[in-house]
Subunit: 264 residues, 2 copies
């Protein structure tokens, strides 16, 4: 373990820079915050390359185990002031620990559609909280992965990683433009299902078939009409109230659990 | 319409103060931001007492209609500088308009359990985004309302109002401590259903009965064991992955749609 003092230390600056997408992309690294998340990672066999904690923290057996494992793996364990940790995490009341991980490969061949009856697909999902929640749901339904189509929020953002509650470390993630995703999908047997308001089946009574790719669209605009037209099945979740849409991660979860019940 | 200049104007300070719960409680008012949300309110017959917009905004027919209606109803229409609007909304890039509404009554007699087959219940839900999303889901499933049990996030917080996507204006909301809620419920025929991991039915195959009160617990701790014990039915959503829980608003929505399908 080494100690770093000062808020303008280059390491503190480097860690802080990983809150921004351009720096994550350049470095190929991302931040995960909190002992629970880092313990989730450790339990799936992933250790941070750099582990950072505040001086004067309370002792915790899980943190001690994490420190020992990171040091044994040749990682960097760093102690900073609370002020420096606040600067890194961007929070007044920082969780007591954060770690730097190498970003994962997110090419389409990460997705194994034989491994599970369904895969979740988000198109232009802009909210990192929604995206992280989709990852968490994908873990829960045992999905073969999550495909992020077009310009989605960054799955490696601090907010998405946090909302994923550890699923960032366990769920295969692919990123691709629509054309590339469609071409990849059409080489195999996948059924592409759109959450839609147009020309569609009730979601409870639709002919789902494995491997089923369940796609939800952008939070404001939904799916583009021409994307929907290329789907094998369009399904609608009933909307009995005033509004005409659900939160995108809610719609994805309601559909995913329906597909799971039918195809499991 | 009147124009206010200066960032330290008492009206600007008053509006800004409504971002804090203690000031909302004292004044009995809350803020809603964005033309879409204010238009949702207007369409349900609710107008802000105060409507605030930035100078130099672009003209918009929906905003013009809103201004006319608020003025006709004797409300206060105020133009401020972009800097002042930023100060009120707490955002660098403020939406072009916000409004002040009187808080609604949130006593238990707001809930009409004869009006719908289900009511959603959140216990100690701390995240205002989750809470707003629950309201949005409650609107979508046509719930008879949302009961907020124990120490939940404030449904009138800017974040909850935003995530509700207008459901704050349409879904009856009640707030009550557990004992008061239980006593109220037990005077009538309601079935209390807990999302649970213990001693429970699969959620797809459970004997739901209307009026069905679907309850989810705190984001970290779930429901207290003694609360679960007092429920009429405990149901479990399958978790096939590494994690042992869903996001609370996701769990509530998956259950709510299942109950709706069975009782509709």
């Amino acid at each position: 373990m080494r100690r770093i003092t000062g808020l303008s230390n280059p390491t503190v600056k480097y860690l802080r820079s990983l809150r921004e997408k351009k720096h994550r992309r350049r470095e190929g690294k991302f931040l995960a915050e909190g002992l629970r998340l880092l313990t989730d990672a450790r339990e799936t066999g992933l250790l941070p390359e750099v582990l950072v904690m505040a001086e004067g923290r309370e002792s915790h057996s899980l943190l001690d185990a994490l420190i020992a494992d990171v040091e044994a793996a040749g990682g960097d364990v760093i102690e900073v002031s609370e002020a420096a940790l606040s600067k890194i995490t961007g929070k007044d009341n920082p969780q007591a620990v954060c770690g730097v991980f190498a970003e994962f490969d997110t090419s389409l061949d990460r997705i194994d559609s034989d491994a599970a009856p369904l895969v979740l697909v988000a198109q232009a999902m802009r909210d990192p909280g929604n995206l992280g929640t989709m990852l968490r749901t994908a873990d829960a339904v045992g999905a073969g992965g999550v495909v992020l189509v077009d310009d989605c929020a960054d799955p490696f953002s601090v907010e998405a990683v946090r909302a994923s509650m550890g699923a960032i470390f366990t769920v295969p993630i692919a990123q691709a433009p629509w054309d590339a995703f469609r071409d990849w999908l059409r080489k195999g047997p996948g059924q592409l299902v759109a959450a839609s308001l147009r020309d569609s089946h009730d979601y409870r009574d639709a002919p789902y078939a494995a491997p089923c790719f369940v796609m939800v669209g952008n939070e404001s605009r939904g799916l583009p009409e021409d994307y929907e037209a290329e789907c094998d099945l369009r399904v609608t979740i009933p909307m009995l109230g005033r509004a005409d849409s659900l939160n995108a991660s809610i719609a994805g979860a309601v559909l995913a659990y329906e597909v799971l019940a039918k195809l499991r």
